[in-house]
Structure formats: structure tokens, C-alpha cells
């Protein structure tokens, strides 16, 4: 594998890791506040559709982005209503949201565009264009660093940079601000937050809202950045992979970055090479497809370090003496 191919694979890794990273950080906010969310998939899917549909109808990718975020946040609100207000089962609520998104997106797509559950392909203006960073052209000839800068770091859409900036931002919010302190507390011991005179419900809704926002970004990137339009079930399990990455990352922002890059790399390799021939042993493409899931199971099994979730995760808060 030569240097340029490597760069191309890594470049593709960055693109594929971006939606994972955004969704993973979304889950991080939610689960750190004690709300499990297996509905990341559905929220991304809804956002992908509404972003693409709005962009197709208005020609503005930014309006698309807003619509995507709004739709994702509506689903977040449902999840909040079910799991916070009515203290329902968070897993079941997440499952319902995933199906709701899967059904509604196709239903509305068919109603609006009549193209078998997809949106029209997005023209320029309806998509996020790649940004060339300053000096990319100037630095390109420099050996090693030049191509890395020009090919790998430069030339992504704005949402990719946003996603990567979200990592330090998330870390800072969680560990350096009052909001972060309270958010982490409400995921560990909501009763401590409650008796300290801070609203558990308010904090958890805020966390679920941020989760919706980030899932919205992830979905919009899928449909208007990574690809040019929405197709049925286009998230293809990315929400679950993000969940896996979150567990892998032990609910920490910087680890989340590495976990998502790893899963992104797996996807990039699977995309570029079909059956991989390792000197006689052929690894079938299906194995590469399944690898992120297999890896997740291995991680969950605790063979690669034990992941301890937030203590109050998944449990609705009921006042108790």
C-alpha cells in the first residue's frame, strides 16, 4: 500500500467517522445524564431525511441543516417525554423512535417526492461543499506533511470540522463548567442533584436536547455532506455503531474520538476493498461488514477493559427518602 492510498483510506476514515463521532457525542451527553439512548439511529435517520428534503425543496443546505436538527430534536423530545416525564423504559422508547423514524421518513418521502422513499439528488447549494483550508495548495508539494495537510486535513465539509471541534468542546463543558458538573452528577446520583435544589428533569431534558442537536448534525452530514440526498434506511446501523463506540470510549470525549476513528477506519477499509486476500486466506466482505459489530460484542464482553456506565443510567428518577 503506497502513501497516497493510505492517505485516501485515512481521508475516507475521517469522512465516515464524522457521523459516528457526532452521534457518539450525542449519546455521551444523554447517557452521562443517565438517559440511555438507543434511538440515535432513528434521530440521525430523521435528520438525514428532513435535511435532504428541505435542501432539495429550498436549495439551501443551511435550511436543510436546521430542518434536520429540528426533526431530530422532536424525536429527542418524545424520548424525553417517555423516559423523563413519564418514567418509561428508555430502551423501549429508543426502539420505538427508531421505528418511527424508519417508517415516517419513507412515508413522507413517498408523499413529497414519489421516488420510492428517497429524495431527489442534491445539486450544489443543496450540499455542504468541501472547504479548502488556507495554504493547502502552497503546502501540498512539501513531502509527507504537504499531502497530509492538503489531502487529509484540508478538503472536508464544515460539519467534519465541527464534529472534531465538538470533542474538546464536550470535554470542556463536561469537566470545566457548572452545567457539566451537574450533568455528570445527574447521571451518577440524581437524588444528590435534586436535594441540592437543582431540577433533575430540567438537566435531563437539556442533555437529551443536546443529544438531539448533535444527532441532527450527524444525520444532516450523512445526507447533505457525505452523500447527495436521502435514501431509505441510509443510516444503516451507524447509530448502533456510535453506541458501541460510546461504550468502547467509556463515556469519555477523547476516547470517543479514537473509537469513532477506529470504526470509521473499518468502514473505510470495507468500502475500498471487497474481499481482502491475506496471502491465501480470503477475508470475505461480509466479515468486514460485520466487524464493527463483532468488535463491539468483544468490547462489551469486557475482554478489552471493563466499561462502567453512569451509575443512574437507564433508571428513571423517582424521589425516595
Amino acid at each position: 500500500m503506497d502513501f497516497l492510498t493510505l492517505l485516501q483510506v485515512l481521508d475516507s476514515t475521517v469522512r465516515l467517522a464524522t457521523p459516528l463521532l457526532l452521534a457518539c457525542l450525542a449519546g455521551l451527553f444523554s447517557e452521562r445524564a443517565g438517559i440511555f439512548d438507543i434511538g440515535l439511529e432513528g434521530k440521525m435517520l430523521a435528520s438525514a431525511f428532513f435535511a435532504a428534503a428541505t435542501a432539495a425543496l429550498t436549495g439551501s443546505v443551511w435550511l436543510g441543516l436546521l430542518a434536520g436538527i429540528a426533526s431530530s430534536m422532536v424525536l429527542s423530545a418524545i424520548h424525553g417525554l417517555a423516559s423523563i416525564t413519564f418514567r418509561g423504559n428508555q430502551l423501549i422508547s429508543g426502539v420505538a423512535i427508531n421505528f418511527l423514524a424508519a417508517g415516517m421518513t419513507v412515508l413522507i418521502a413517498q408523499d413529497w417526492f414519489a421516488q420510492g422513499g428517497r429524495t431527489p439528488s442534491l445539486m450544489s447549494g443543496g450540499r455542504f461543499e468541501d472547504i479548502t483550508l488556507p495554504l493547502a495548495g502552497t503546502l501540498a508539494p512539501v513531502p509527507i506533511i504537504g499531502p497530509i495537510y492538503a489531502e487529509l486535513i484540508s478538503g472536508h465539509s464544515i460539519l467534519v470540522y465541527v464534529a472534531f471541534l465538538c470533542v474538546p468542546a464536550t470535554w470542556w463543558v463536561l469537566f470545566r463548567t457548572r452545567f457539566g458538573l451537574r450533568l455528570r452528577a445527574v447521571g451518577e446520583a440524581p437524588e444528590a442533584v435534586d436535594t441540592a435544589g437543582v431540577s433533575v428533569i430540567g438537566l435531563r431534558f437539556a442533555a437529551v436536547g443536546i443529544c438531539g442537536l448533535l444527532c441532527g448534525l450527524a444525520g444532516a452530514y450523512l445526507a447533505t455532506g457525505l452523500q447527495a440526498g436521502f435514501v431509505k434506511d441510509m443510516t444503516a446501523g451507524r447509530g448502533y455503531i456510535a453506541l458501541a463506540a460510546l461504550i468502547f470510549a467509556k463515556w469519555r470525549p477523547w476516547y470517543a474520538l479514537w473509537a469513532c476513528l477506529l470504526f470509521g477506519l473499518l468502514q473505510a477499509v470495507a468500502l475500498r476493498y471487497q474481499n481482502i486476500d491475506l496471502g491465501g486466506i480470503v477475508i470475505p466482505v461480509q466479515f468486514m461488514d460485520a466487524l464493527p459489530y463483532i468488535l463491539t460484542v468483544v468490547i462489551l464482553a469486557g475482554f478489552v477493559g471493563k466499561a462502567i456506565p453512569p451509575r443512574a443510567g437507564g433508571e428513571p428518577y423517582v424521589k425516595e427518602r
Partner: protein, 364 residues
Amino acid sequence: MDRMPNWADAVLVPLISLLLAAILSAGVILAIGESPVDAFSLMVEGALMRSAGWGYTLYYATNFIFTGLAVSVAFHARLFNIGGEGQAMLGGLGVALVCLYIPWPHWSLAIVAGAVGAALFGALWALVPAYLQAKRGSHIVITTIMFNFIAAALLNYVLVNLLRPVGAMDPATARFPDAVHLPTFQDMFSTAATPLFRGAPANVSFFLALLACGLVWLLIWRTRLGYEIRAFGHSDSAARYAGISPVRITVVTMLISGGLAGMMAVNTTMGEAERLVMNATEGAGFIGIAVALMGRNHPIGVLLAAILFGFLYQGGAELALWTNIPRELIVVIQALVILFTGALDNMVRMPLERAFLAGRKRRA
């Protein structure tokens, strides 16, 4: 005292939830410019007014009984098995191997062996998540989701690379021999004078599903194992105290659950397609969640909910055929049912409990 009488808990709450889901679904149909009344009558017409419609409704219901029972058995042990889809896929593989590689003299033997094969493969696919949950504390919801994806990849590989007949294009096995053809309702109930269930896929597996309902009822409420499963589901610490092994219960319950999910393949693979195709499950594994929630994890409830979803499925297909409403409407309804009967249960329950409490106070 309990806040509500048992009948309200078992019947009233799911009915109100269902009503809410129905109202919202009607709203969705309105929003896409169709008439909910027309849509509903079309669904009833297509699914219930002709024997062939029933033939489809009950065919789908058979699938949902198996997957619904699978989810509810696991629920009794407070295990959320989202892996019915993958377990049913593997169940299909079990059925296919049994039908393709063993020459059966008669369908009655084949269905027993097919059911065993399906249950075995389905159970096997539930074993790893069960073991990891029991021994390593890996969250079974996540692992079973992952196993759905792994199952799809595995089945894809097996069908494309191993079981596909030479020269065939689509990823599917060869057709099963005629000897394993299961009698359909048409075969069983149709006479020359009164043709019934014409062309409908409902088959003898439906009775297998009914049998499964009865056996699950006995298991859960009349056996020691069922007593232990429910005890473990209510309180794992108490189960430990009583000498009930959490590992054993988790694994055994998931094996039963996976086996039931797998047995759905007898209906789809032996009874209908008569060969194993990709995506034979068509999301039935997930519908099992809605069915179990609606049926309150009771076999009779599961049976009724499964027939309801069978009706929705068949009716939905009719809608897709005659109107502009795509089949995904069913996915939306399914989502709403899961939402209202599962996650938003308290929204329905709390006002009802207050009403009953107020009523009791007034009488007192």
C-alpha cells in the same frame, strides 16, 4: 391495596394505548392526503372480508406469535431480547439445512425436524448474548442488536458463497423437495365446491404457533422453571437468595426465547417460500416487541396482538397496492404501539390509577 383492579391493568391500559396509536396513525394518513376511513375499510376488506385475506392475516400472525412469545418469555426474566430478527434468520438456516440435506418421507416428520432445527439455530444465536449477559454483564440489548447485524452478514455469506445453487443469481438456497411441502389452509380446508384461502400462504405452522402459546403458558405459570424465571425477573437479588442461579435462568430463558424466534422460520421458509431467501424475516423479529408489549407478555394477549398485527400487515399490503400509502405505514403504527404500550405506559396508567383511587375513595 393495589391501585387498580387486575382487569384494568390487563385490558383497559393496552386498549387505551392502542386507541391512542390508532388516532395518531389516522392523523398520519390524513397528513399524507388520504382518508383514514377509506384506508381502514380497505384494510378490513383486504384482510378480513375474504378467506384469502384471512389466509394472509393468519400467515403473518403466525410469525408474530412466535416472535411475540420470544420477546415475552425474555421479558418475564426482565431480559429485553431485541435479537428476534437475527435469531429468526438463523432459524431459517436451520430449517433449510434440515429440509435440503435430509430426505424426508412425509411433511409431518419434516415439520417436527424443521421446528427442532429452527429452534436449535435460533437458540444458538441467542446463546452468546445470553452467556455474555450472565457471565460478563454485557448489556443484552446491545449485544442482541449487534447479533442481528452479524446474523445478516453471516446469512448473506452462507447464501452467496455456500448454499446458492450453481448458476443461480439471487442469494437463496435451492427449492426444498416436494415432500416437505407443508399443507396450506387451502390444502386443508378448501373443497371443490367451496374454495377457501385461495393462494394464501397460511399453513399448518399456525397450529404449531397455537401449540407454542399453550406450552409457553404452562411453562411460565405452572412449572418450577417458569416460577424461577418470573422470580428472577422481579428481583435478581431475591432469586440469588432462593438459590436460583442467575446464570442458569438468563441462559435458559434466552435459549427458549431464541428458539421461539427461530421457529418462526418454519412458517416463512418451509410453509411459504419453500427455500431460504435473504430477508425472509421482514422485520417480524421486531414486531414481536410490539406484540409482546401489547399482549402484556401473556400468551393469550400475544395471540390477539399477533392477529391484530397480522391484520395490519395484510391490510397495509392492500393499501400499498391500491393507494398511495406505502407499506412503511405499518412500521409507523408498530412504532406508535411500542411507544404507547411500552415507553409511555405511565402516561396512560397514571390518570387511570388516579381515577380508580378517586372512585374507591368515594365509595369508601
